[in-house]
Subunit: 629 residues, 2 copies
Amino acid sequence: MYPKLSLHPAKRSYARGKLFWQCLNDANWLVYTSQAYDCIYEWLSREDRAFLNKELFRPMADFLSIENPQFFNRIHNHSTWGNAAVGMIGLVMEDEDLIERALYGLKNLKSNKISEDNDGGTIYSENQRAGFLAQIDEAFSPDGYYTEGPYYQRYAMYPFLIFAQALSNTSDLKIFEYRDGVLLKAVYALINLTNGSGEFFPINDAQKGMSFHAHSVVAAVDMAYYQSKDPSLLSIAKEQNTVTLDINGFTVARDIDNNKYEPYIKPSIMLTDGPNGNSGAIGILRSYNNEEETSLLMKYGKHGMGHGHFDKLSFCYYVGREEVIQDYGAARWVNIKQKDGGGYLNENKSWAKQTIAHNTVTIDEKSQFKASVKTADLFSPDSFFFSSDNQKVQVMSAVDENSYPGTRLHRTMILLNDSVFSKPLLIDLFNVQSDTAHKVDLPFYYLGQLLEVNFQLSDQKSQILGDDYGFQHLRVEAKGKSPENNSAQLSWIKSNKIYTLTSYSDPDDELLLTQIGAHDSLFNLRRDPGFMIRRNNSKNTSFVNTLESHGNYSPVNERPVNAYGKVDNITIIQNTQDYIATTIQLIDNSRWLIAISLKDNNKSITHKIDYRNEKISWQGPVLVKKFSK
Amino acid sequence: MYPKLSLHPAKRSYARGKLFWQCLNDANWLVYTSQAYDCIYEWLSREDRAFLNKELFRPMADFLSIENPQFFNRIHNHSTWGNAAVGMIGLVMEDEDLIERALYGLKNLKSNKISEDNDGGTIYSENQRAGFLAQIDEAFSPDGYYTEGPYYQRYAMYPFLIFAQALSNTSDLKIFEYRDGVLLKAVYALINLTNGSGEFFPINDAQKGMSFHAHSVVAAVDMAYYQSKDPSLLSIAKEQNTVTLDINGFTVARDIDNNKYEPYIKPSIMLTDGPNGNSGAIGILRSYNNEEETSLLMKYGKHGMGHGHFDKLSFCYYVGREEVIQDYGAARWVNIKQKDGGGYLNENKSWAKQTIAHNTVTIDEKSQFKASVKTADLFSPDSFFFSSDNQKVQVMSAVDENSYPGTRLHRTMILLNDSVFSKPLLIDLFNVQSDTAHKVDLPFYYLGQLLEVNFQLSDQKSQILGDDYGFQHLRVEAKGKSPENNSAQLSWIKSNKIYTLTSYSDPDDELLLTQIGAHDSLFNLRRDPGFMIRRNNSKNTSFVNTLESHGNYSPVNERPVNAYGKVDNITIIQNTQDYIATTIQLIDNSRWLIAISLKDNNKSITHKIDYRNEKISWQGPVLVKKFSK
Ligand SMILES: [Ca+2]
Ligand SMILES: [Ca+2]
Ligand SMILES: [Ca+2]
Ligand SMILES: [Mg+2]
Ligand SMILES: [Mg+2]
Ligand SMILES: [Mg+2]
Ligand SMILES: [Mg+2]
C-alpha cells in the first residue's frame, strides 16, 4: 500500500513526505510507530508481520532513505530522525540491511538532486559522511554542545537517544560510550543551557519559553538517568514533575520515591563548539546568592548554520527568574497560524538574526559577515580565557577576528561577588581594534521600564535608525551625550526589581534610547527597549560597562529597597593594543582596578601596569583588585 | 516642648507639620502614638501623664485642629486622619473637648486662610460641615463607596475604622451602626473593588499592584471581622496571610484556626456614588468559569475630586489573573525618588487623567469637561440599568449628558455566558447622540502582542496623533480601513492567552493602532498598545464591540488551543434615537440579537422591533436573544 501512495500534495518541502507534507514528519511517525510495532511484533501472526513488513515498513524505510537521499544522507537534525526511523524499524524487523544503512548512511551516492533545504542550509558536499554514527560525530562538540543551540538540540535529542537505547538493548554496539559518552554529555549540556526558570537560553532561532519541561527533555533526562543512575538527574526529573511511560520513567519515579535524588547545581561551564571542540564555545558563568541563580551567557561558538544568528560575542543575562538583558530570540510564533502560518516571520531575517539585534558590537551599521550564512559558517571566535574556580571572580574572554575583516573584537566578561553587592556585579570590557576608523554601536537590550538616566535626553520622535541590517526596525526615542564624569548611568525596573547599568562613555559618544518595532505595521516584533552607545571614528577603543542588580520595590507597601546602585563612575586608565586597564569607583570610595592583557592569555605570565604611582603586577591575563580607599 | 517647635522647614504643603513636612504626617504619627500611649497610660505616674498631656499631646491636638483649620475642617482624607488623631488622643486623655472637636469639627470658622490644597482640591466652602461624623456622612456613598476610588479608600479606611473602634470601646456611640453600618459596608466595598488577583481596580489616580494585601486592608478586614463575625471575611484574611497584632487579628487567627471560614464570592455589584447615592455609580459584573474570575468594571460615578480622571463610561476588564483591557492608572511611581521624587509625574495630568487615556469615547479630540476638575465635580452620569441576577446575561448601562454639553453618551455592557464560549463574551454597545456632527474616538487599551487583524494595515511611522488632551502622547503605528463585512477584528496574545476583539466599523472609520509614549523622552509612560476606532462627522452613532477570551498557547508544547474566536461579524440593524439593535453572528451560523431601548429603562414596558420579517418583542430595556440558525 505505501509504495503506491503518492507524495503529499503540499509542495513546499525540499523532501516531500507521503503521510505528511515532509519526510521529516513521516520519519517522526516511524520512530514512534517502530516502538509500538515492536511491542506487538511477537503477538502478531507470522503472515501479518510479513505483510506489514513488505507492504508498509520496508517500503517506507526505503522511501525515507534511498528515495530521498537529500533528506537521509546529510548531517542535519532532519537526517537524524531519518536515520533513527530507518534503524529502529530495522531493529524490529531484524533487517540488517536497514540497520547498516541507518548507522553508516547510503553508499556510493554521486550527488543529491537538491542542493539547499527550505532554510537555505547546504545539503550536499563532497566526501560528506552520513548515517547515525556520523551524526553523533558531527552534530555534537566533545562537550555535548549541539551547534544549532539548545532550542534545536532539545528537538534533536530524542532520535539520538531513543535509537541509541534501542541499539544498546539489541546489539553489542556500546553506543552510550561512543565518543567518550557524548550522548549523555549532551543531556547535561542541555540542562546546563537553561536559565533560573529552566528555560533554554534563546540563542539562534529559538522561541522563548521552551524549557526542560518539554516532553523531549523529560525523555532525555529519563533515558540518561536509566543509563547513568546519576542521582542529581533525579532533581531535574522532580522539577519536570512527569516521567515517560517506560522502563526509564519507571526507574526515575521509583528512585525519586526512594529519595535517591541529590541537588543538581548547574555549573559555570564552557561548552566547546564544533565536532573537534576547536570552533569557539558557549561560555556560561553562574553565581548563586540566597538560592537565586544568576546566569550570564556569552556566545563565541559557531554560527550554527541556517538557524544561526550573527551574534558573535553577544551575551544574555538572567538574575533569579528574571530576564535582565535579553537575546531577542526568533521572530516566530511556532504553530500560531495567525502569524504567517506559524513559520519564521520575515522579521526573523530582517531583525532577529542581524547583529544589531544582539548585545554585541555592530561595525559601520553592517552585520557580521555582512549577514552571509555561508561565510559565517566558515569561522568562529576563539576562547581567550575561561576561569570559574574562584566564585568571587569568574571570567570569560573571547576574541573574534573574522566577523569584520580587519577588525579584532575582544570581549571579557566578569561576574564579581563582593560583600558590598547583594547580587554579583557584571563587568563587561569590550575592546575593538582596527587599522582604520569605524563607527561602533554597542546596544544593551534591557527589559523593563526606564527609571532614570544621569544625562540630558532630547526627544527624537521615534526617528528610524537606518535602512538595512536590522537598523530599519529600530526607533530612536531619545538621545543624549556623556555626562562630565564619562560614566553614563541608566536604571530601570522590571517585575519590581531595580537594575543599573553604568557605561564608560566618551564625550563624543552618542547615547541612544531605542525601541524595536519600526517598519513593522503587522506587529511581528515586540516593542522592547534598548540602550545603545554609538562611538564614531574609532580605531582602538574599549567599552567598559557594569551592571548591578541592586534593588526592589513592592507596590503593596510602596517601599523601594536599595533603589540606587553602588557604582559611581568608571575610568579607563590605559587602552593600548596590549592592555585595557580600568577602575570602577564605588559610592563608598572603594575602587576596583580591572586590567586585561589583550594579546597574551598565558596563565603563568606576569604583567605590570602603573597605577597612581604604584607598580601593580599580576599573573595571567586578568587582574581584578580591590582598593578599599 | 511641642508648642515651641517651629514648622518643618519644607514649605511645599498647604498645611505644614512640625514633626514632618505636612500636618497629615503629624496626624498619622498621633493616631499610632495614641494607641501606644493608651497602653501605658495607667502605668505612667500621674505627673508624667500630666506633663505629656500638657506639653505634647494637647498642644499637638490643638496644632492639628485649631491652628490648621484648612487641614482639620474639611471633607477630605487628610482631615479624617486629623479628626481621628485629635479624637483618639482625646479618648486617651479623657479630654471631652477634643473628642467633641474630633466628632463635630471646629465651630464658628469664618473661612480658611488657604483655598486650595496641593492637588488643586477645594478646601473651604460655606456651610461646610466638618468632623468625623461629617466625614462618614460625606466620604462614603450609602453602599460604602469612597468617591476617590479604592486606591485612596484603602488609605483612608484606617483612621475611620481605628477611631470608630476606639469610640465603640469607650463610648455609647454605636458608631459601627451609624448610617446603616456604612463603615462596615465600606470594607466590603473595598474587597469588591479588587480583581482576580486581589488588586484594586486602578481607577482615578491609583498605582497598579496595590491590593487587599496592604497593611491597612489587613487591619480593615480584621476590624470588620471582629465587629461582624462574618465568616466569609476569614477567607480574605486567609489570603492576606497575616493579621494585626491586637484583639482583632487574634480573633481572626483563632477563628481561621477553628475552620470557621466560608468562601467569599465577590459579587456583581453596583456601588452607588455620592453621599446620597444618587451621583452615578461604579458597576462591576463578574462571572466565574472553572474557578476563574472574570471582572468588568464600568465607571459612571463622580469625578472624584483632585485625583479623579476624565473617564466617564470607561471600563477595564480582567480574565482570571490577567489584565486584558487596561485602565492606565496613575503616572507615578510612589516613593521612587528617581521618578520626580516619587510624586505624581507631569504625565499624570498630561496623559493619565485625560479622556483619551481611557476606554471611552473622546469627542472632537478634547477631554470630558475640557479637563476641568471644577466642572467635572459638579456632574455625574446616571445608571440606566443594572441587572446581574441572571448569570447567563448580566447587563449594566449608564448615560452621561454632561461630559460633552449637547452630546448624550450611553454605554451598555453585557457579560454573556453561553456553552459555545469557554469564557464569557463581553458585548459593548456605545451610543453617541448629538444635534451637531462630531469626531468620535473610541480606544481599547488591550495588553499583549498583536497577532492579527482582518484588515489591511499601512505603516504610519509613529506619527504623533495630536498636541493636547493626551493626544500628544499617542503614536500611530499603523492604520487601516474597515473590511467589507463592517467587522474589524483584532486578536492578541498575553501571557499565553489569546483574545479577539470584533468591532462594528463603518466604511469611513479610521482604524488606528497606537502606542503610548510620544513626547516622553524621560520614559515616564509605559509603551503600551491601543486600538482606536475613529469615526468622523457623527450625529447619532453606535459602536458595537465584542471581546472574546478564547484561546491559549504553551511555548513548551508549542500548541495553540482555540486560537480563533467564535464571533464572525457584527451587523447594526437599527440605530435610532430610541433604539440600537445589532446582531452578532458566530462562525457556527448561530446569531445573537441584542437590542437596547435608549430612552426608556422601565423594566416592565414591552418593546418591539422588526427582525427578518418577524416582530420581536421583549420586556425591559435590554433584549439578548439567541437564534440557533
Ligand atoms: Ca509576515
Ligand atoms: Ca538587507
Ligand atoms: Ca517628570
Ligand atoms: Mg539571537
Ligand atoms: Mg563563525
Ligand atoms: Mg484612569
Ligand atoms: Mg461627573
